[in-house]
């Protein structure tokens, strides 16, 4: 079973990102479970979501305390909270950032990749410039970098889950997929 944790802020599409993964994985015929850490937070506050992926029916229904991998939709969270809490050694940390992975030395022991999802989102006019919605882009990059899910399934999931600007979202995912660099340390 794969367990993945998503970090973002209210309004960025964190929960939708986790759903994109779930929908994509399900399209590939696997089992999936995704859920937010539900608070009553208003816009701007930190948000967490979780996804489990398996080849068989998933019964465990508690939170994920020791995720295999992380997605960080908002780099300002790094430092503000301990994003790596519980993360299994060697897990992926995929960060939305315009900086290269090596600018995150604090994550030694994990596999770090970055993607400038914000720029891609802005380019495709997803959300506003002040508050871009980055979920589609980051999930495209996730597909490329981890290989846990195919880009075709991600595109379909993005299409299904985007309430508006479906095509732009799909393109953002594709662009992120196309441009994301798979860091060398990936075995």
């Amino acid at each position: 079973m794969l367990e993945i944790r998503f970090h973002g802020r209210g309004g960025q599409g964190t929960v939708v990102a986790s759903k994109v993964l779930a929908f994509a994985v399900a399209r590939e015929g696997r089992f999936v479970q995704t859920f937010p850490e539900y608070g009553v937070e208003r816009r701007g506050a930190p948000v967490v979501a979780f996804t489990r992926i398996d080849d068989q029916k998933i019964y465990i229904r508690s939170k994920i305390y020791e995720p295999d991998h992380l997605l960080v939709l908002d780099p300002t969270l790094i430092g503000a909270i301990d994003v790596t809490e519980g993360l299994k050694p060697g897990g992926w940390i995929i960060i939305n950032s315009d900086k290269p992975a090596k600018d995150f030395p604090q994550f030694a022991g994990f596999k770090v990749a970055t993607v400038d999802a914000t720029s891609i989102a802005v380019k495709h006019r997803l959300g506003s410039a002040a508050a871009p919605i980055v979920n589609s882009a980051i999930m495209g990059a996730f597909a490329k970098i981890t290989g846990f899910v195919g880009i075709e399934a991600v595109r379909e999931a993005v299409h299904e889950l985007s309430p508006v600007k479906k095509d732009e979202n799909v393109e953002a995912a594709q662009e992120a997929y196309d441009t994301a660099e798979v860091p060398k340390e990936q075995s």
Binding site: V40, E41, R42, R43, G44
Partner: protein, 302 residues
Amino acid sequence: MKYTIPEQEIMCSGHKACQGCGATLAMRYALKALGPKTILTLPACCWSVIDGPFPYSAVGVPLFHTAFETAAAVASGIRAGLDMRGDTETNVVAWAGDGGTFDIGIQALSGTVERNDNVIYICYDNEAYMNTGVQRSSATPWGAVTTTTPARHFKQERKKDMIGIMAAHSIPYTASASVAYPEDFIRKLNIAKETPGAKFIHILASCPPGWKTAPELAIKLARLAVQTHVFPLYEIYEGRYYKLSMDPKKKPLIDYIKPQGRFRHLTEEQVAEMDKQVDERYDRLKEQAERSKSWFEAKKEK
């Protein structure tokens, strides 16, 4: 600096409201007017969250969180309890959203007003159930989209006239207000404080996520609601005597409609229909104010 509203801040920073929340400003102003000798009771609403989680609070006065349908009745109880213990001074205030007032709380409110219990009921009206994610309330204006009135089937009923209903209860004092006009709101609360018996104040409180607007427009829109005659500011004394608090020259309705995502789907005809409703209602108000003039003059003379 010459402050136009009391300087004292009873409500504090750090609360959980969204950016640009009008409901929060309403509370800030209300506490300025009411002062620290005030007890609030609050049914389920955005403010149940805004005030902060246990063990914190933002209001700076005693606050009793209560069940959604009970604000007015709890206020009646607090009043009776204080009175029996010899405290007839403290303001007892029920603070509720439009859902908690127009819908699920209307019965308790009707009871409190009928008994004429000495409490102030303040309804901050953001025109939907915001705390649960923007569902229709009976305060939602005609034409608006909410999650339970999708664009295809936008709200078909007009906004309930809560002040009219309160007036029909012969309430000693009732008034509308807007967060864009804090001086007016505070003046009305001062009247409410001085008036024995039941008081009802209805304050329009803009809500950026619920209205689907930019947060920086919150005050502007609350002002436009008044300026376009959509939400007139007025008072009613003894359930009968009407007074317009201001009578602005009407701005085009579209100025108010356009910036709001909840009205985006409306056609021109539909906006015109809405405009007609607005004018009709405003004309009636003016008529009633006209008829009440002699009473206010007589009152002034006294």
